[in-house]
């Protein structure tokens, strides 16, 4: 961590890390819900959205949270109570585990994990477990169907996501997210060092596949069959109310934020600016102020990517269940495999 923190005792550092993790998960989630879900969706549908609570309805979020927290914690009579209560927490924990590997600056990271990308893909698959048991333990046919749909969809789209990331890993030659950021900001593109080498350009197909896959992983429309409200009431969330629904809700948008952060690290250069702008040559030269500017750059890139995700969510109708599976297995996975092959060949040739 940052040099100032080196003098703080270990328990203090751990406490600060937990606080940092809470901020890194909850702040993007709240911003995404207000800016995109409340305001952007309203303007796209020619209405104002929340206007009463605070200026331009900016306090609406706190009103909503307060409303949910007051509600009774209802568990259906025939549900499996313990598992029913556990399920939303598993989903949220997987989000918190995910944010741990995201680097926010040259020294502003939670852990400098050697196999960071691999770890992120592994823990993101833990949330499927939470969704599945949420659907099962509700003792409700709609919930069970939603849970099963979610599991089928998340497994199917995890593969193109992993394969798309593989191209970046081959090109950067490392699985460490911090080193991927450095590789993008020190690299040259066609001999020009003006903008570094963001992999969105050389891994364009990988980027598109990754964005489609995270759209499906987040179960945002047009991939929202697991919670399809016109078919399944609310899918695996049907029986949840109050505080536990709030956890699912926070989990959904927090995961959107964290996945967008990982996408911006992998494809858009993460927290960095091209190092040649300031005459830096390696990560050790990077000035200390980047620890404070870096998170802001990350946040901007994250908002940009979430904007794209939400834009698509509010624009497209839902796919059918079999179209969804066919799209993943016959469309995305072959393209991702070809992308890996070409990346590997080009990596060896140059």
């Amino acid at each position: 961590m940052i040099a100032v923190l080196a003098e703080v005792p270990y328990w203090g550092q751990s406490l600060l890390r937990v606080l940092g993790g809470l901020v890194a998960v909850l702040l993007p989630a709240g911003t995404i819900v207000y800016v995109f879900l409340f305001k952007m969706m309203s303007f796209m549908q020619s209405r104002l959205g929340p206007m009463e609570a605070g200026p331009y309805g900016s306090m609406q979020l706190f009103a909503e949270v307060g409303k949910w927290l007051q509600k009774e914690d209802i568990v259906p009579e025939r549900a499996d109570t313990r598992i029913f209560k556990m399920a939303p927490i598993i989903v949220l924990v997987s989000t918190f585990l995910l944010v741990v590997v995201v680097p926010f600056g040259p020294e502003a990271w939670f852990t400098d994990f050697e196999t960071g990308v691999f770890y992120a893909l592994a823990v993101s698959s833990v949330s499927v477990l939470g969704i599945l048991i949420a659907g099962w333990s509700s003792a409700n046919k709609y919930s069970l169907l939603g849970g099963l749909r979610a599991a089928g969809q998340l497994i199917a789209y995890e593969l193109p996501m992993v394969l798309a990331v593989m191209g970046v890993v081959i090109q950067a030659g490392t699985m460490n997210l911090q080193k991927i950021v450095v590789a993008q900001n020190t690299g040259l593109m066609f001999g020009i060092d003006a903008i570094g080498h963001p992999y969105v350009i050389s891994q364009f197909f990988g980027f598109i596949i990754f964005m489609i896959a995270i759209q499906a992983e987040l179960t945002q429309a047009p991939f929202d069959m697991p919670i399809a409200e016109s078919e399944l009431v609310s899918g695996y969330m049907t029986e949840y109310s109050g505080f536990r629904f709030l956890i699912f809700f926070i989990g959904e948008f927090a995961t959107a934020g964290v996945f967008a952060m990982i996408a911006s690290v992998l494809f858009l250069g993460g927290w960095g600016v091209p190092f040649t702008w300031f005459g830096w040559t390696s990560i050790d030269d990077v000035a200390n102020w980047m620890n404070f500017v870096g998170p802001l750059i990350m946040f901007t890139k994250m908002m940009l990517l979430v904007f794209i995700i939400m834009w698509i969510r509010f624009s497209y109708p839902r796919l059918r269940e079999d179209q969804l599976q066919r799209f993943a297995w016959k469309g995305l996975i072959p393209v991702a495999l070809i992308n890996i092959m070409f990346t590997a060949i080009l990596k060896v040739v140059f």
């Binding site: 196999t115 698959s125 477990l129």
Partner: protein, 164 residues
Amino acid sequence: MIAQNIGFWIIAIVMIVAALRVVTTNNVVHAALWLVVVLAGAAAQYILLAAEFVAVTQVLVYIGAVMVLFLFGTMLTRARIGAESDLNNSYKKLGIPVGLVMLVAMGLALVSSFGDEKLPQTTTVVSSQEISDQIFGPYLLPFWALSFVLLAAVVGAIVLARKD
């Protein structure tokens, strides 16, 4: 006693309790979830051994894929809520001796190959690059053999699932 040993014992006890619950619980889904605890414990033990690549693989393969498919399968076919009475059958008598034989066999294998040897107290993490150099170097043939087995399994599954 160093911190790793304390961590090892805590995780080991959790794993043993969870493993016993897998076979004693009276609900299929509960058994699967206790199995998740056991597998997550194994991943935690790998972390204690500074083998983070293996630990992450354990999470990705066993928790993220195998257990999800397991739960998916049981929920599609039979997974009632509440206690089930027909989970125990006459093979139970056979299962206990088989389990004991496996325990003895694995214990003997461990003792005869390592004996009193102690693991070196290193804090360096084995990099994934070294692991891949090993897999694609000296262990290339077993790696290929394994991938052929997996390929055969995939083809077999498709043959079984096809209706025509």
